[in-house]
């Protein structure tokens, strides 16, 4: 429809809407209720002797606690790093055209997801009792004392730290494999067809087309898994590794006959780390949302 100039002139000027906004009295009431509740709890806690705030202040940055927090953080990062790598390998194996890989991956996930991580950690602690050495090569063939392979003795003092990492990462890898698999399944099959029709090999297609797109689906639950791993490290006492945050703070609490302030110390550190992880996750998610959010329309 064509508008004549006179009708265009007659159009009213654009005015913003003036109206009384909808009131939300219940929101204010609820906010007030929880603020009062929290204030009451905090005021009470501040004066309650069982919390022993003096000890809390004394130990929160104490050298042993500080070091133990470092152990917990390094256990988390190294285990998670290995678990993500192994998880990707397992998930890609599940989709491999090779049936041997598919089945090996299935059995791994079946065992390591199907038993409790605490029990697995106890098993890893007993590794040197079950196996005295491990051998790479062809067993049972030797010429005198020359074996076709290398023996690695597993000493009684095998690093509990690394046994804990092995235990945590193998267990977590089974979960990561399922997360990665869900991510790979979320990528439209047309993507693989397009890549294949360009002549890309199966692995190139996975590496450059499918996995990068799957990352958008994989990252949110992976962030969840990292936070979960941070807390699961408190179970390494099953190995038994006693240098992590939880074991160390419990240990210290035996000195002062009061576990409560040290539990608060441990919780504060755990919360501090998870808060940082939540921030990191936010930025990583933004990075992999390329091509999906309106803000990332043009590459800068």
């Amino acid at each position: 429809m064509l508008l004549s100039p006179s009708r265009l002139m007659a159009q009213p000027a654009k005015t913003s809407i003036k109206a009384v906004p909808l009131r939300h009295p219940f929101r204010w009431a609820a906010a007030l209720y929880f603020v009062v509740l929290a204030a009451a709890f905090l005021l009470d806690a501040f004066h309650r002797s069982a919390y022993d705030w003096k000890s809390f202040r004394k130990y929160i940055f104490e050298a042993r606690v500080f070091k133990a927090a470092g152990v917990t953080l390094s256990l988390t990062i190294i285990s998670m790093f290995l678990a993500i790598l192994l998880g990707i390998v397992l998930a890609v194996m599940r989709r491999s055209p090779n049936p041997v890989f598919r089945n090996v991956s299935w059995v791994f996930i079946w065992i390591f997801r199907g038993t409790p991580v605490y029990v697995q950690l106890v098993f890893w602690g007993l590794l040197s009792t079950i196996y005295h050495s491990f051998f790479i090569g062809i067993p049972d063939i030797h010429f005198g004392h020359f074996y076709l392979g290398v023996h690695f003795p597993i000493s009684q003092t095998a690093s509990l730290y690394w046994l804990a990492i092995i235990g945590l990462s193998l267990n977590e890898a089974a979960y990561m494999a399922e997360i990665v698999r869900a991510g790979l399944l979320s990528v439209d099959t047309g993507q693989e067809e397009a890549a294949e029709s360009l002549g890309m090999s199966w692995w190139t297609t996975m590496r450059f087309i499918v996995i990068p797109q799957a990352m958008r689906i994989i990252i949110p639950p992976t962030g969840n898994e990292i936070i979960s791993m941070l807390k699961t490290t408190s179970l390494v006492t099953a190995v038994p590794l006693v240098t992590d945050l939880y074991a160390r703070t419990r240990n210290i609490s035996d000195e002062i006959y009061n576990p409560i302030p040290l539990l608060m110390v441990a919780c504060t550190w755990y919360l501090f780390f998870t808060t940082i992880l939540m921030f990191v996750q936010y930025f990583v998610e933004k990075r992999f949302a390329r091509g999906h959010s309106p803000l990332s329309g043009v590459q800068s």
Partner: protein
Amino acid sequence: MTNSPMVSAVEIHKSFGSNEVLKGINLEVNKGEVLCLIGPSGSGKSTFLRCINHLEKIDSGRLSVDGAIIGYREHNGKLYELKPSEAAKQRSGIGMVFQRFNLFPHMTALDNVTSGMIRVQSIDKDTATKEGMALLDRVGLSEKANHYPAHLSGGQQQRVAIARALAMKPKLMLFDEPTSALDPELVGEVLDVMKGLAQSGMTMLVVTHEMGFAKEVADSVIFMDNGVVVESGKPSDVLNNPQHERTKSFLSKVI
């Protein structure tokens, strides 16, 4: 072998389970020829196209592109299945354009175009970028090089997809209903690019419902129905003067 056909199909059969989709397809496409495949949905034309690119495996018959049997290697009269790397190499000489574009959403238009050059042909990034820009220019999208697919219109996405396929310097281009997923007003820009490509002498197989395009650009038209070739010939014959009842009734509905 300059006189051998670009595509030769002899008695192609293909079933999905108990459903036989192709029931003995015979056809030839000469070099530089543009062939349009028309027919109702479910007639097997898209499946046949996918067989040529080995996205589907045929059950029986003999399908070859530029003298090479698709998916196999012949030695002393015996067929050997190709290794994945050999099959991939064979595919890279055949460009494919999909109904739903299938652009890589995590890459810019330019990266989509250069991905094959860099990852398959191992061309260095600078050369690939230069060639990629030239190809985007050819489809009229050089100013959209840094845009992600989600921020391009359907017509623009399909033009990028055509540029991506051309980047591999294919000897044959397959189009699987390239304009069916587009808004009507965007169909023209994609057909124009295809027209230009046909004029440049590219051998093209086009599954399409665009009868105007078939009439204007195709050298020959094949009408398929229910897994068989019902009628084939010059577009003026098949489209204006169909001989078979089935072709007549189909054309009366789409034109």
